[in-house]
Structure formats: C-alpha cells, structure tokens
C-alpha cells in the first residue's frame, strides 16, 4: 500500500484488511459509516475513551476491526459486559456493536433489562434476518414468509419488532436504518454519542450470501436496491408499525428520542445525597468521603503473620458469622494482611449449626477452605460434636466454658475457656457473647493488633451499638488477660 492512506485508517485496523465479511455484506458498510462519523469528530472527543464491545457472530468481528479499545465477549453477553465497563469507568463511551441473533435472541434478556434501566450505552444492532456465520439459520428476527436453511418452506413465525420492544422497555433513543442508509446511520450515531441513556440503532443489514441468496436477492447490489426501494423513512414513525413484513415496506426512522435520566444520573440523584459520594465509579478514582474507619486505613507497615487457619463453630444466632467477619476485617483492612472468609450454615435463621472460617496470612492465600484448623473456636456443644474430628494436636481451642464440655480430644491441644455467654449477660445482653469471645481471643493470641480488631468491630456492628459492643469486647479482653497471667485457670 505504502503511500495509500485510507481516510479511515486512523480508526480501522488496516493491517487486518481485507476483512472476513462477504462480498456486499452490510456490516462492512456500517463499520465504515461509524468510523467515518468518528473520524469527523475525532478532534472533539478523546478516542482513547471510546470502547467497542461485540458478541459472537459475523458482526462480533467488528470490535476487532476498530482501532479502539474493544472486547469480543461470549455469545449474547456484550450488553452485560458493556454495562460493567460503563459502571466501572463512566468516562468511557461504550458502543455495543453486535448482531440481531446475539443481542435480541440469545442475549434478549440483557437487551430488555439494559433498556429498562436506561443504561448509558450506544447499541448498534446489525439485523441481517438470520444467523449468518453459522450458515443462515432462521432466528428471532427472520421475517415471516422468507426462506432460510432451517425454514425451507418459508418461515411461519412472527419476528421481533425490535423498535417496539425497545420502546416498551423504555430506551432513550430507538432508530432503524438499513445498511444502504449510510448518511442516516452516521447522523444517528453522532446524535446518540453524547446522549445519556440507552440508545439503540437497528441497522437492517444486507446478507446476500446467506439470507439474500435464498430470497432472490443474490448480490449486495440487489440487496441495497431492495433496501432503497422497500423502505419508507418517516418522521416520528410509530414503533407499532415497525414489524418487518415482506409484503409491506420496511419502516425506518427515529422511533424514540427522549431525555429520560440515564442509569448513572438516576443513580447519582438518589444515592449521592444519601451517601455523600459525588461520583460512582469502579476504577478507584472516585472521591470518597473521609470516614473514621477509612482514616484508620492507612497502615504504615503490615503486621507480619504466618498463615493461620481459624474455624469457628456454634449455633445460628450466636454471631459466629459476624465473629469471623470481624476477624477477617481486622486482619485484612486494618492490619494490612490477607484474609479469606467463608461460612457455612443451615437453612434455619436461628438454632441450626453454623460455622465460619477465616484464614489470615501475610502472603497471598491460595485456597479458601480449611481441612485442619490451627485455631478452633467452639461456642456450642452441637458444634463441638460436629467439628471435634477436625481438632488436631498442637492446635488451640477456644470454648465457651458453660456451653461446651469437651471430650475425646487428642493430646497437646491448648484449651482456653471463657464463660462468654455469662459475661455477655453481665454486660447487658446475651447477644454479644461472640464479641466477648473476640476480646478473649484477642487477649490470648497475637493474630491481630488490638487497635485493628477494635476498629473492625466498630465497622461491623450496627450503628449506635459500638460503645456497647466495645464494652463487651473489653470484658472478654480483661478476662483473657487474667487467664494469661494465670489468675484464672
């Protein structure tokens, strides 16, 4: 090529040309139109902030032909992926470029729900009436009385009326053009690029090889001619009339153009005043209000600790899950170590067996489950029966003195007993037995620093009960100190 510089060369990956699309295919034309539109406004927008997402199918290849950030997702999921992309980095303009089979048939639910919540995406749906890449099977958009490889007597199903569907779901912008309407596609695309909310452009696309060949439109030229002759462009057309039938012209135009708040704006309007957060984004660039817990986040150097596996067992309602959660938070958020937290519980809200496990380490943790714990915390006899076999010699066992009567233990197990439930009752409520146990464990082990566990406690308990919980924690801690000094057996 050398000196030959295609004007769209900045946006199209010319090294990948010629592309895979068939002769006369409308996808190439649509890519070309969109690239041209972007070329026109490239000075006004930052092309690094434009991303193309596409799914599977012929049109799924589009993401690979744009010289933009792109992603080729699994079948039917480009909208789901694009939603995550937009929420993670709201600065991006996310364009979903995919086919009718991918978007409306296989990913149909993603389409209608993204439209319902008015997700800020620009969706370009290439509708070629069939599954072109796999050999021209009929799909949800194949018009009635047309022929495909899997409807050899003519299709007798009714196709999707995509503009009506999207209108009903509440999209902000719905338009339909054909691949022969280059100018309109460009115009529509430029119109929606800075529009918030769900913008949907359906492009009826020429598929001469698979759909056209079986419907007397053998070449790209025939199809373009068919599109130009069999379409009606209306101003403000009614989406109800947009059903594609072969005996009446295809209705094109902008069906919906409204300015409802997009998902991000709607979210901000509701959540910002409540949470005091200006911007919602997932890439860590958001400014979060300084809270007490967050201010304590800055840890000069993590407390070094070797991998310790802790397992807690009790009956549901004792706060076994919360106990593990606080331990994990103390270690990971406030001590700067790694922690993994898993739980298991029965279907009952209260009374069933319940357990949680925490692994704490300065190194990365590879596996979240525990076979033989180093530290075992048992707060009910039922849990002791269940987990007794996991206790091995050399491990440490914390029990509730009044509720657990240990038996048949291997030798060399360090047992520390605390009347957690009784102390909790003395403090005020039986409910805080787990917090008493936490204080007790903190006094007798070196798993996390005192300050970290107190901060994690404040962060984890319901608002307004911090003082009360700290009181329970201190009661357990003092009891533990006494045990440590040998004052209590």
């Amino acid at each position: 090529m050398g000196s030959k510089r295609h004007p769209m060369g900045e946006l199209i990956r010319e090294d990948r040309m010629p592309h895979i699309f068939c002769s006369g295919c409308g996808i190439g034309a649509t890519i070309s139109n969109i690239a041209e539109a972007l070329t026109e406004i490239k000075k006004e927008i930052d092309l690094d902030k434009v991303a193309v997402v596409s799914g599977i199918g012929c049109s799924g290849r589009a993401a690979g032909y744009f010289k933009l950030d792109g992603f080729h997702t699994t079948h039917g999921r480009p909208i789901a992926f694009a939603t995550g992309l937009k929420l993670g980095n709201p600065d991006l303009k996310v364009i979903v470029f995919s086919g009718d089979g991918d978007l409306s048939t296989i990913g149909g639910n993603h389409l209608i729900h993204a439209a319902r919540r008015n997700m800020d995406l620009t969706v370009i749906c290439i509708n070629n009436f069939n599954y072109g890449m796999t050999g021209g099977q009929m799909g949800g958009t194949t018009p009635t009385r047309t022929w495909t490889t899997t409807s050899v007597y003519g299709n007798y199903e009714t196709p999707f009326n995509l503009p009506l569907l999207l209108y009903a779901c509440g999209a902000n912008y719905v338009a339909r053009w054909t691949s022969a309407h280059a100018h309109y596609i460009k115009k529509s695309f430029l119109e929606v690029l800075n529009k918030e909310g769900f913008c949907f452009i359906e492009v009826i696309s020429a598929c001469p090889i698979n759909w056209g060949r079986r419907n007397k439109l053998r070449t790209g030229k025939d199809m373009v001619k068919f599109f130009l002759e069999h379409t009606v462009i209306q101003e403000n057309p009614d989406p109800k009339d947009a059903l594609i039938q072969m005996d009446s012209p295809i209705l094109c135009g902008v069906f919906v153009n409204q300015d409802k708040p997009g998902y991000l704006r709607a979210m901000k309007e509701v959540l910002s005043p409540k949470l005091g957060i200006e911007e919602f984004r997932g890439d860590g660039k958001a400014k979060l209000p300084e809270t007490e817990a967050r201010a304590e986040l800055k840890i000069p150097k993590p407390k070094q600790i070797e991998e310790v596996k802790i397992k807690m067992g009790g009956i549901g309602g004792q706060g076994i899950a919360l106990l593990g959660l606080i331990m994990g938070r103390a270690a990971s958020i406030f001590d700067g170590n790694e922690a993994v937290y898993t739980q298991e519980y029965g279907a009952e809200a209260r009374g069933g067996a319940s357990a949680s496990s925490v692994i704490i380490s300065s190194e990365k943790i590879d596996f979240p489950y525990i076979k033989s714990p180093d530290v075992m915390v048992i707060m009910a006899q039922g849990a002791f029966r269940k987990y007794r076999k996991e206790i091995r010699s050399g491990s440490t066992l914390f029990i509730d003195k009044d509720l657990v009567r240990p038996y048949d233990l291997p030798e060399g197990v360090n047992i520390y007993a605390v009347p957690a439930t009784r102390i909790a009752e003395e403090v005020g409520r039986k409910l805080v037995a787990n917090i008493v146990m936490l204080g007790f464990i903190s006094a007798l082990t070196d798993l996390f620093s005192l300050k970290a566990v107190q901060s994690a406690l404040k962060m984890s308990v319901p608002k307004g009960t911090e003082e009360f919980n700290l009181k329970a924690f201190n009661a357990g801690y003092e009891y533990g100190q006494k045990v440590k000094r040998g004052e209590i057996a």
Binding site: M17, S23, A29, V224
Partner: protein, 97 residues
C-alpha cells in the same frame, strides 16, 4: 438531469474535482461503487486481485471526471476505495468577495 432554468452565476462556479484511489487487494467485487457513482466513471477491471475478484477501475478517458462526491467511499463495505479532493467543493466567486 436537464432543467430549463439556469443558475445565474453558473459560469462563476467551479466544478469540484476529485481523485479516486483504489486499494485493489481489499476489493470483493460487490459492485456498489460502480452502481452508485453519479458520474458513472467506474467499471470492473479485467485483471483479478489476489482473491480472484475484479476490482473497479476508472473507465478509460474519464480520468478527470470525478467530482469528489465520496459516494463510492461511503458505500464501499471493504475500505477499498476512497476519494481525494483535488479542488475544493462547489465554490462561487461571489462568496469570496
């Protein structure tokens, strides 16, 4: 297209001029550029490209007739043709004054 009425300043207008550039190895012979060229200056080549398609060429003797409208570039699905504008588009001498 013939009309009875003439623009008053027709003699002051210049006809824009363009140059069509082909990238033959990308062409897939869909024929859209040949069909939709308003001045009808394109035709299929007798040569084949790498993939065995006849790519478009300018009809002999019509080299200077491109008006740079860019239709061929717009309809081409394969990025195989584009237009370079040699002389500016419709421009009246009155506008300069």
């Amino acid at each position: 297209m013939r009309t009875k009425r003439r623009l008053l300043n027709l003699d002051k207008l210049t006809k824009p001029k363009g140059k069509v550039v082909f990238i033959p190895e990308r062409c897939k012979e869909c024929g859209l550029c040949i069909e939709y060229c308003p001045t009808q200056i394109l035709e299929y080549s007798t040569e084949f490209n790498e993939k065995g398609y006849h790519y478009p060429i300018i009809k002999p003797g019509k080299e200077d007739e491109c008006v740079g409208c860019g239709f061929c570039q717009e309809v081409c699905p394969d990025f195989a043709i584009y237009v370079e504008l040699i002389e500016p588009k419709l421009q009246s001498n009155d506008a300069k004054e």
